[in-house]
């Protein structure tokens, strides 16, 4: 029997090996945590950074884009750029800022054709089906058309004029005798190209392209719109309901 306290060479080597392995594993674990923390930062993106057509949701895009820049090379306009370290976008990924230079919506979608990994989805064959974001008229207080003027610029530059942006007629209550033509975005047609935001004549655009997830609401799946149900059935679903009294909102001038 060996005297206590003396460890043979093999055991000592085993201990050293185990200690070294544990130390390395812990260090790498900490490095991994730091990296995972960076990922959290990269998953958020400023609202004005728009992804190229076919990019889809960001959680998918960040697993597919290898940050090669082939889409940027084949973009014929100064639209697309790759995020640099100092940008708030995941480094190396392509994006554009509509106010600087919008997507010109090329018919052959060269950026998507150039993508080697499918990060820009090749099932996107018509640029009109792209959903890079959604234009939102974010400020009704400064939009010239809301003020009753005939700016109309966002409406006129829209590549899908009359579909993605329409001008809705409203009476101008300020003058009491004129009309206001309200730019109205339709999400079933807007591609998020950003030409409206780029062209807005204000110093700070009143219409902006936002990520669809921020711009769009969603009805509860149980909602039924009475007038649609009525149309489908051809008559009222429930007969003989008395009309409720109409109330004006309080504090209305």
């Amino acid at each position: 029997m060996k005297p206590q306290g003396i460890i043979d060479g093999g055991a000592r080597n085993r201990r050293k090996f185990l200690a070294d392995t544990a130390r390395t594993a812990c260090s790498i674990g900490i490095a991994g945590l730091a990296l995972a923390h960076l990922v959290r930062g990269a998953q958020s993106r400023p609202a004005n950074a728009v992804r190229p057509p076919g990019a889809g949701a960001d959680d998918r895009f960040l697993s597919t884009c290898v940050r090669c820049g082939l889409c940027v090379n084949d973009c014929p306009y100064p639209t697309l750029r790759l995020a640099r370290i100092e940008d708030d976008v995941a480094v190396g990924t392509p994006y554009f800022v509509a106010r600087d230079y919008p997507c010109e919506m090329c018919d052959d979608i060269p950026c998507v054709a150039a993508c080697p990994t499918g990060a820009l989805d090749k099932r996107l064959t018509s640029i009109d089906d792209a959903r890079m974001g959604l234009a939102v008229l974010t400020d009704k207080e400064t939009c010239l058309n809301f003020l009753g003027l005939r700016c109309d610029v966002c409406y006129r530059v829209c590549p899908l004029m009359g579909k993605a942006i329409t001008l809705e007629y409203r009476p101008n209550r300020r003058t009491g005798e004129h009309a206001a033509f309200i730019p109205t975005v339709h999400s079933d047609a807007c591609t998020g190209c950003g030409k409206c935001e780029h062209a807005c004549v204000l110093e700070e655009a009143a219409i902006k392209v936002l990520p669809g997830s921020i711009a769009k609401g969603r009805l509860g799946s149980h909602y039924r719109l009475g007038w649609q149900e009525k149309e489908r059935k051809g008559e009222a679903l429930v007969k003989g309901i008395t009309d409720l009294p109409d109330r004006m909102p309080e504090g209305r001038p």
Binding site: T24, S63, V66, I85, G92, G118, K122
Partner: protein
Amino acid sequence: MSTKAYPGRDAIKAKGWFAAHRWLIIRRLSQFAFLGLFLIGPLSGYYLVKGSIASSLTFDTLPLTDPYILLQSLAAGHVPEMTALVGALIVLAAYLVVGGRVYCAWVCPVNIITDAAHWLRVRLGIQGGLKFSRSVRYWMLGMTLIIAFLTGVLAWELVNPVTLIYRGLIFGLGWAWGAALALFLFDLLISERGWCGHLCPVGAFYATLGRFSVFRVRAVYRDDCDDCMDCYAVCPEQQVIPAALKGAKQNTGPVIDAGACSNCGRCIDVCALSVFQFGSRFAGPTNPARRPPADTKLRTAA
């Protein structure tokens, strides 16, 4: 292992300066040539090669994709399109022939940074600092793939200095020069050959390929070795040498078959006795008698 500050002096005397720096010069030319091919497009507007080192398209026909970056994408849960898969297979096949870490020594721009840092470290006499095990890079490789799997994001590409610097040079540097400077200072002051020799998971990936690659450095005339130690002093991965150079007694072959060897060829350069040569892993065993007579004279001269 003694580390000579200025290995290769005997080789310069014996073979002349150019022959003693031959592979170093060719390697630098190669590094700048790859970068040049990518830069022609943005500089002239005429694109031979589009994209960057992560994925590229040459002459609008040949797709090439970094297999390690694609592996991250796979780990993150995305099966890429054919173009990227084919591109990665071509690159994989190429490095399986020429040597896995040929990527590190002949293509990667960080090699210039790490070599410059080491050059200055030796001249300033900086010693000590953090020591890492050579195996840490494989842990790093595993970690990057696990984080990609857990987060669904190509996580390492957020910090990978190789692609960061390469992309920066082609598409606009921004603060990417900071990454280059940080690497330089890390290797200079904190850890000798720290990044490329111990930590970089890209190198670990290509080292794994290198274990099987055909083209290798061979200590063909190892019987001539006079233990001057110049090859150890110049080699960024010294641990790969002894098995091949001193393996005659153990009956191991003369091929440096460790994946960590980057086929940089500096050992070939600095050896005054021309012990090392590039060659195939599968070429027959060494035969000292085959050494050309002219070289024997060289030995006495040295």
